[in-house]
Symmetry: C2
Subunit: 323 residues, 2 copies
């Protein structure tokens, strides 16, 4: 098949499905968005995935079987070898669903499945902020914190495909409870969820802060985005909460620097949108906590692919497998 044949990429998320036809250079030829409606079960969702893929290839005037390959990214845990999605928290009711096989059978091109953070790492490495690097760590900071590791130029998966659980390294032995059951994980200290939780606790304690005003005293409205907004308006409590979280994010990154000696850390996810405000304290914390020579050797940059990281990551998954 000609080396310019595009790939189909599928970003299966807990709330939406994005499908695209992607050229070898990362150009998105056609794209389609749908809601996942995960509660309707795997069969209905797989049908939507196949419909979305057929729409994007139809837009380009080709058939799905003419795609060079198909890449899918989905929430973990999943099994890259068997191509099964294994009961991810974001797809309730899914249990060992053979997504890879179902999509390959439905669309007629070789299909590859990868967990979302790994796919995003491959996407940023091939098409985004990590182009040309050999040792790159992708970290996504949103409601949770995840990661993908590009080591010696390749995705590193570990012994059972679960490497890169950056969000669950313990940084505070008796720290706040994490969703994983452990205490003091990076995710429990620096994720959007952690920032919102800390803000809610302070508001509940009656601390005077703009956060309470912006949330109109409704704790449900307190999100990391709202805390960041209050911080940018000069609220001292919000600034302290953000500084604490970014300090721990920096300690987590310093630990990655000491262990992996990467040349680049790419930070993506919703929290990355606050940009320099995020990166400056993270970079300072790396300089404080990592070995000087290692801290000097690493750059920390925001992700470049934005909302397309899913489909471009899935495209990179497919391209990596067929090259």
């Amino acid at each position: 098949m000609p080396s310019e044949t595009p790939v189909i990429s599928i970003d299966l998320g807990g709330t939406k499905i994005s499908t695209a036809l992607v050229a070898r250079d990362g150009h998105i030829i056609a794209q389609d968005y749908q809601e996942t409606h995960a509660a309707q079960g795997p069969e209905a969702v797989i049908r939507r995935i196949l419909d979305g893929a057929r729409r994007v290839v139809a837009q380009a005037g080709v058939r799905s079987s003419q795609a060079a390959a198909i890449g899918i990214c989905a929430p973990g845990p999943l099994d890259t070898e068997t191509g099964e999605v294994v009961s991810p928290p974001n797809l309730p009711g899914w249990d060992h669903v053979p997504v890879r096989q179902l999509v390959e059978d439905g669309l007629g091109a070789p299909t590859y499945l990868e967990k979302d953070a790994n796919a995003a790492a491959l996407g940023e490495h091939r098409f985004g902020a990590g182009r040309g690097t050999q040792h790159m760590i992708y970290v996504t900071v949103s409601t949770g914190i995840g990661g993908g590791l590009i080591l010696d130029g390749r995705l590193y998966r570990g012994s059972c495909g679960m490497a890169g659980e950056v969000g669950h390294i313990t940084l505070m032995r008796h720290g706040p409870l994490c969703g994983c059951g452990n205490r003091g994980c990076l995710e429990a200290l620096a994720s959007g969820t952690a920032i919102a939780r800390e803000a809610r606790e302070r508001v509940a304690h009656g601390v005077p802060t703009l956060i309470a005003v912006l949330a109109e005293k409704d704790p449900e409205r307190i999100t990391a985005k709202l805390v960041a907004e209050a911080a940018s308006q000069g609220d001292a409590e919000a600034q302290e909460i953000m500084a604490e979280a970014m300090n721990y994010l920096g300690i987590g990154m310093a630990n990655l620097v000491n262990l992996f000696n990467p040349e680049l850390i790419v930070i993506g996810g919703g929290l990355a949108n606050i940009g320099e405000k995020l990166l400056e304290p993270v970079q300072r914390a790396i300089r404080r906590h990592a070995y000087a020579a290692l801290a000097q050797a690493v750059q920390v940059v925001p992700a470049e692919l934005g909302d397309d990281v899913g489909v471009l990551g899935a495209a990179a998954v497919a391209l990596t497998r067929i090259e």
Copy 2:
């Protein structure tokens, strides 16, 4: 050259030099020990290295130039590419000494240099506890804590050869000061030095403990080995100090498990000699702090090569390069 030709291996340490002629299967054909006398400077030490190597080949009735290759392990930091030792704390006064070239010129066989923890990882992977594994982390716990990473079956060095600084991941933000200048490093919480420091502080504070008795009230005599001895005799303070240190060692290992998804962690170094007493609390801490699936996938075992880890590690360095 025949595939059974042995290699020369050189373990250059801050206090002693061990040189050996090693068969391809790890059998030590001949071995030589000397003191380093690092203060005499690089020239004298290199001469001793060459003399030691010539003695071991002479014992086997061959010439050094007949060795298949020469492997050297030395304290970091060093530059694997140029073969220079770069001012390591354990070799005071050494500054960019081209050890690799000097040894190659002196002995007449291709020579390779690697930092000691990486060489130990290669040695345990090829000849010791890690045989047959693809994803193995070697951790040495003695006065300091170091590590070497075997990922996807190969030594992982990172972007400038400094990956694997396991001892300097931050586990306690405002924790005890580490030799590296950072606070709360794993090494500052769980190394032999950390154990002895904590014991000295308790003794200085007048806490009644067998440690003071065994040390005959001389703080200089308080070592991790002495604390372990007091703990094994039932002293509650000593047991608490050891339990705290092993708990932090376990948290550090849990972080490695979450990041690397290794199948095996091999623990070497002086502290590993206390055996099951070390490994049991470390294993429990991994189960408490790492993801369940990842904790189940990893085994933690003591190193197998003992005092020969240096020469067998250096032999593995040479063999890895020529295969």
